[in-house]
């Protein structure tokens, strides 16, 4: 379990690319808080940060950093 720490000053925002769209969040935001902010509650989602899976068990530990590329996916209908 490695908790990352941002080097950006407190009170500032970090810029991310979230599901392909630019977005900014408060410094120190972690994955679980991001999901809550986005209104994603329940359902099975998976999160990828810079092409690496973020295990669900680490949602409350992994902090979002400047320039992160985040993907949030779920199951949808498909053949």
């Amino acid at each position: 379990m490695n908790t990352q720490t941002s080097s950006a000053p407190a009170g500032q925002k970090v810029s991310l690319v979230l599901n392909g769209e630019p977005r900014s969040v408060a410094v120190g935001t972690r994955v679980d808080a991001l999901l809550k902010t986005l209104g994603i509650v329940g359902g099975k989602v998976a999160v990828e940060r810079n092409r690496a899976i973020v295990p669900r068990s680490q949602f409350s530990e992994v902090e979002l950093l400047q320039g992160d590329e985040i993907e949030i996916v779920r199951f949808v209908g498909g053949g």
């Binding site: 979230l18 599901n19 392909g20 769209e21 986005l38 209104g39 994603i40 329940g42 359902g43 099975k44 989602v45 998976a46 999160v47 990828e48 092409r51 899976i53 295990p55 669900r56 993907e71 949030i72 996916v73 779920r74 199951f75 949808v76 209908g77 498909g78 053949g79």
Partner: protein, 267 residues
């Protein structure tokens, strides 16, 4: 290997993929339906135990839109995550790693497509992706061309099931190469499923008569005028085809062979 014991019916007939036993030999997709409710009703009517699902970005502008899992419950259906829309091995592996994290299971469907027009599988990329996935601990059911040599390569590389196409995805053109499908089914030591191209129940019945272990289809039900009725028709066709395969069909002859006695005719 699928169980092929004679049973005189389909109730005790089952097949096994990657250690998981299924009684339904009809796997249905979850795309192209009017809504998830119709989809769930069709999956029930089909008697399906396994459904394919896709992995896509959460819609951030409407994160609370209807969710697949609210209608097709993961405790009722085994979800088979697919890699539909992937054109490289890396994309497919990335997609399935996300699927494994979202679903907490490792049975997946691999498909790596070659071009958007034919949706024909790129078997070189598919084989490469299969090797990566097997090394990463996945149980992989592989969408494939109907080439018996490639089917053997996939099995050698650790595929949990071989799923040759009957015809291009969504085409409804039926089984274009029954000879190859039969060869693949005969030689394989893992389950063989016809995946893609089935347009109508007789196609599904023929796939089963050829010795396939199951069929996987989506559009033939979803785009029927009455998807629920068609789902039931597909269920019956798969059961009929399976029972016919187990029962052993009559030999074909070039000429007629009378069924009534020659002796005792009144004239």
């Amino acid at each position: 290997m699928a169980q092929l014991e004679q049973c005189g019916g389909t109730s005790s007939d089952s097949w096994v993929v990657a250690g998981r036993t299924f009684h339904s030999r009809l796997i249905v997709g979850t795309g192209k339906y009017r809504d998830y409710q119709e989809n769930a009703d069709a999956a029930e009517a089909a008697g399906a135990e396994m459904v394919t699902v896709a992995v896509r970005r959460v819609n951030l502008t409407d994160p609370n839109e209807p969710m697949l899992v609210d209608y097709l419950k993961p405790d009722r259906f085994t979800f088979l995550p697919n890699t539909a829309g992937c054109f490289t091995g890396e994309d497919a592996v990335r997609t399935l790693r996300l699927a494994r994290e979202a679903g907490d299971w490792n049975l997946v469907k691999l498909e790596v497509l070659s071009d958007p027009e034919t949706l024909y599988p790129d078997m070189v990329e598919t084989l490469r992706a299969l090797e990566m996935l097997v090394a990463d601990g996945f149980d992989v059911m592989v969408y494939a061309s109907d080439d018996p040599v490639m089917a053997r390569r996939l099995e050698d590389a650790g595929a949990a099931a071989i799923m040759p196409l009957g015809a291009p995805i969504g085409s409804g053109l039926g089984l274009q190469n029954k000879l190859n499908l039969r060869l693949i089914a005969e030689q394989a030591g893992v389950p063989v499923l016809v995946d893609a191209g089935i347009g109508t129940p007789s196609d599904a019945a023929i796939a089963m008569e050829l010795g396939c272990d199951a069929v996987l289809l989506n559009t033939a039900i979803a785009e029927a005028q009455d998807p629920i009725g068609m789902a039931r028709a597909m269920k019956l066709a798969v059961e009929a085809g399976r029972l016919a395969y187990l029962s052993g069909r009559m030999p074909t002859r070039k000429y007629g062979s009378a069924s009534s006695p020659e002796h005792g005719k009144i004239s």
